[in-house]
Symmetry: C2
């Protein structure tokens, strides 16, 4: 036990209550070799924090379940909500070192160096969205570590732990790998604590945290009101959605003949995904009444329901709003071999949030890169991503709205919000086109499909999905 | 693919929108042997439901992570929220059969027959709290199953699945075990679907669901306003909290001498829990300002922070309110070898919810048994549960409130709610005593500790915890 100055506790109480009031999410990362003393430091810190707003998150060696999700999944999932504090005892750094040491490739389908980029981008987007990340590396000389190990060994109750430590110390060259991380550029700086002098390492831990919290509190208090106007151009002329909508049609017989073979291929794709343990994300965006639901229904019709989930995305809940906007999507990503349909998606950030002013200009502009990085990190895990945009013309939407109004079996589908969205048609077109220009990548392409003819749109969307997946599965 | 009558889809749409409006949670369980055709039935059903309110939950053979939590944990976790529908494709029944076949004992420390009781109690408490559970067992003759298997084998993409099926069919005598379940009493009846006649099994599936949904909708619409008055006696005389509060005290030196050895023993307990892979739940209840937080702090002071979590329980969130009241606690139970502290707990049901009228009389009265069953099911998984009640006298509480008011470092701890709670002191005493009488079990005992002297209370609580845990660990 570290004997803690009462003043540290008081000051930490003050500062953490203030970050809580200001709704600043804080992540304190404690890395360090086994038996370096980091556990004692972490505990000293943990004891000063209000349990109501604090989570202690220990990263363990990779388990079976970890390997079924993207590398960063457990850390996204554990993200503190606004005003909360997470202590990460070992973090994505130790996790990646464990992966490399064990040569785990289940959920890393690229060179490990790309995961280092993902980690960089992960920290960057958190910081850009107001998270405070404070990172420590606890260093201890070999004799200090030996002393700690000896203490563990001498207690019969903790002997097994000493053995476990010994085994893991032999296996992983944690310190050498960490050195590379410490030297590389990072969005949030490291503080190195030398455990040789126990007292001064405790002091340094607390002083660093106090300093960082004070600065982020001051920064938040001074923050100016941001611009929130969506930056829309009047009389925007679409360049991408200039279809001859009447051209694309498909009669009933033709539709059946074309649809069923594609549905069968989709089913085979599901089997292959499962076999190769690759996850698939199918993202659908488009105007209200564009036919996203019906489209998804045809795509999944022949699939094994144990292998897919459908995420119908609507307004975020209170808890979702209190997290990074990608959090609620990250926790819904499919596990290996499975398919997730997204009926609307993270692209809401640059569509509805931009249009309705829920995201500031800075936020939606930075979202393009954030989303590209997010999708890239999923692709690194082996994921296939296909994005379908169903485009309707304005007259056809009106027809469909009127249809819904008249039909008692469909009227529940039409809400006041649909009419309000329709009033912002031009803004929606502009936001959608800019979205596609900025996020159409070779790993996760957009397919824009004219949606006036439902049959045509279903066959066309499914065809794009099937062809892209087959290509990726053959690679 | 089953060719589905359009009328089924329409009717299902109507009924499920109505259960959604009425906020009735629905669980549809589909059990059946491998290759029985249940997948096709499940898919036909899934396709008729609105993805927004439906989750398809497939139960897989037990994984490493399952074995680290109580048996029912994945099903509690997956509970639909009010107004949602879950399709459980294989359920707790198939799961238990898998456990028995593989002889898994990691998280089942009792004879499997006790888990059957837990399953009964699980369904019962869900039904009692307004869940609609509709259970199907799909039967198919051997020749029908062979046909299904052949179809899988003939397709090169699904050949591996046929092999997997074959292997699992050989290993587990699923059908024989299910027969016992089908014969035994259950809170929600089974409907058996014979897949010999495919069309009629589909019809029977939908008609059963329609019938059940219509009945529960009607029942909900007719529901009378329940009694919500807490049933408190005027001038209630405590029988349990009649301490001589001044008697129990402890001076500073004595305190230190007694506390530290107990903290060391607590640390050893943590090691042993980890070694034996047993979870520990420490529950703290008591009046406002009784010292629960300070008490917990002393108990955890020497513990390895990677092995415990603290759940500070406050008012439920929107999502928590939309679930069975035990849901938010079940998802926070510790995994094997870990400790969870609960600073307030599920006992809120029979305390604050009773007192404030958030629970009806029927609800809080039934909660005693529900809670006993809940704790019993955790004990079956190997858990140790200790419950501490810190009792304060009314004058001492006033002193502490005033102290907090005066001290700028403590005033944040005192809220208007604390004063409002104080006005209901007598009701709180009555509810607490009745709670203890009704839920003090040998597996999960209550220790009532006079809390006027903080030092005495800390040592005493820790002593009770340590002694109980040591006893359980030696068994």
């Amino acid at each position: 036990m570290i004997d803690l100055d009462k003043d540290f506790e008081m000051k930490m109480g003050h500062l953490s209550r203030r970050t809580h009031e200001l709704e600043i999410p804080v992540m304190i990362i404690i890395e360090g070799a086994l038996a370096s003393g980091k556990s004692r430091l972490a505990n000293a810190l943990y004891m000063t924090l209000d349990a109501k707003y604090t989570d202690f998150f220990a990263t363990h060696p990779p388990m079976e379940v970890d390997k079924r999700y993207p590398f960063l999944y457990p850390f996204w999932k554990a993200l503190p909500k606004n005003g909360d504090i997470n202590i990460h005892f070992r973090s994505w750094y130790a996790h990646l070192i464990d992966y490399e040491a064990q040569g785990i490739k289940d959920n890393i389908r690229v060179d490990y160096k790309y995961i280092r980029d993902d980690i960089y981008n992960f920290e960057k987007t958190l910081i850009d969205r107001g998270y405070e990340i404070i990172k420590f590396y606890v260093h201890a000389d070999d004799d200090v570590k030996k002393e700690h190990l000896k203490a563990l060994e001498e207690n019969p109750a903790s002997q097994w732990k000493a053995e476990e430590f010994q085994e893991r110390m032999d296996n992983v060259n944690y310190e050498k790998e960490m050195e590379i991380f410490l030297e590389n550029p990072t969005p949030s700086p490291w503080t190195i604590l030398d455990f040789k002098d126990e007292q001064s390492s405790v002091e340094s831990l607390f002083e660093t945290i106090f300093d960082r919290l004070e600065r982020c509190i001051e920064h938040r208090e001074k923050k100016k009101k941001p611009n929130v106007d969506g930056e829309f151009i009047e009389n925007y002329k679409p360049t991408l959605f200039n279809f001859d909508f009447d051209k694309e049609s498909l009669d009933k017989d033709d539709y059946k003949d074309k649809l069923e073979p594609l549905q069968m291929r989709m089913r085979e794709i599901q089997f292959k995904l499962y076999e190769k343990k690759m996850p698939l994300l199918l993202v659908y965006e488009g105007m209200d009444a564009a036919g996203k639901g019906g489209n998804i229904k045809r795509t999944r019709m022949f699939l094994d329901p144990t292998g897919y989930t459908i995420n119908a995305v609507s307004a975020p809940t209170e808890i979702e709003l209190a997290h990074h906007y990608l959090w609620r999507f990250y926790i819904d990503v499919p596990r290996s071999g499975h398919i997730s349909f997204f009926d609307r998606s993270w692209y809401g950030r640059v569509l509805v949030e931009r249009i309705e002013g829920f995201a500031t200009n800075k936020e939606w502009k930075e979202a393009y890169q954030e989303i590209n990085n997010f999708e890239k990190s999923l692709v690194h895990s082996g994921a296939i991503i296909v994005k379908i945009f169903l485009s309707l013309d304005k007259d056809e939407q009106l027809e469909r709205f009127k249809d819904r109004e008249k039909d008692p079996d469909k009227e529940w589908k039409l809400t006041d919000e649909d009419w309000r969205n329709r009033d912002k048609w031009d803004q929606y077109i502009q936001a959608s086109e800019e979205m596609i220009f900025n996020t159409n990548t070779s790993e996760a392409p957009w397919y824009v499909i004219p949606g006036n003819n439902k049959r045509y749109a279903r066959v066309e969307a499914l065809k794009r999905i099937v062809e892209f997946c087959e290509r990726r599965l053959e690679e």
